[in-house]
Symmetry: C2
Subunit: 165 residues, 2 copies
């Protein structure tokens, strides 16, 4: 007698789906729900407190880690968004005085983007406040659960990393 609920009768009609499949779908919907909720909260705070946005914060965060600057293509692959997307966000940050585009020696196609002094200063301040917001939004998350969450999500992420069949 089959006690394993994840193994189904092979005669099961193909329009029914397994329990494990349903559990994974629920997990995905829950991830989506939480990430949208948190993203919405952070977007609102960014707008009200900084007059800025999450995508701009992300770009500045990447550049803050690479003080020598990054190419547009490096930025878009680090942030996992399209090239054209980064163009627009960088344009706005340049207008705001947060970023500069520097030509690259020996390659006139490319340019390097880096934080201005003002951009560095602003980001350093904002990053601290941002971390506080996140910690508050996740204040019910224990260190233990945070670790469990990260471990589980890492396995999911790695399975989907760059192995497009």
């Amino acid at each position: 007698m089959n006690m394993d609920k994840t193994v189904r009768d092979p005669d099961m009609p193909h329009n029914e789906t397994s329990d494990i499949s349903k559990a994974r779908l629920r997990a995905w919907l829950q991830i989506l729900k939480v990430s949208r909720k948190i993203e919405g909260e952070l977007r609102e705070k960014m707008r009200l407190e900084f007059g800025s946005t999450l995508p701009r914060f992300d770009v500045m965060a990447a550049l803050y880690r690479s003080r020598d600057g990054m190419r547009m293509s490096e930025l878009s692959s680090a942030l996992m968004v399209s090239n054209g997307n980064v163009t627009g966000i960088v344009d706005r940050l340049v207008t705001e005085g947060m970023l500069v585009r520097v030509p690259v020696e020996n390659d006139r196609r490319a340019s390097i983007v880096r934080l201005t002094e003002a951009g560095e200063k602003d980001f350093a301040e904002r990053a601290l406040v941002h971390e506080g917001w996140v910690s508050e939004l996740f204040s019910d998350l224990s260190a233990h659960d945070a670790d469990a969450l990260i471990r589980i999500l890492r396995t999911v992420y790695h399975h989907n990393e760059a192995h497009h069949d």
Copy 2:
């Protein structure tokens, strides 16, 4: 002697942050990373296989659960997006013949949106395929980890539900 790592020296400079705060930030960044990766994969599949989008799928899913239809305001609160957002998505789905707007008796401000017969049929098929995609993308997620994930994310979600101070 203080053994609790989450309680810090009150003289700690305010530009340093606690370990638990850093762990929560890492957890949030990991949630974001996974949800963007999965969302991107699903978007691409939706586009290639169905010639459709995730937001349209979400609207149809909500209406599939409420066969009698929903008001625009019910839809936007169920999906946790703005009113104006739903207007545009519904417009496109009406053009595609998936949805109809039905006037509400005794209230000429409101209208009820519901799936057409074609919309119901299309969604039923797509939902099965969609569940298969999710199960495949999450195939490294055991039933046990799925439950753990859901439990942890639920506590985070509930903490942030509707208590804007």
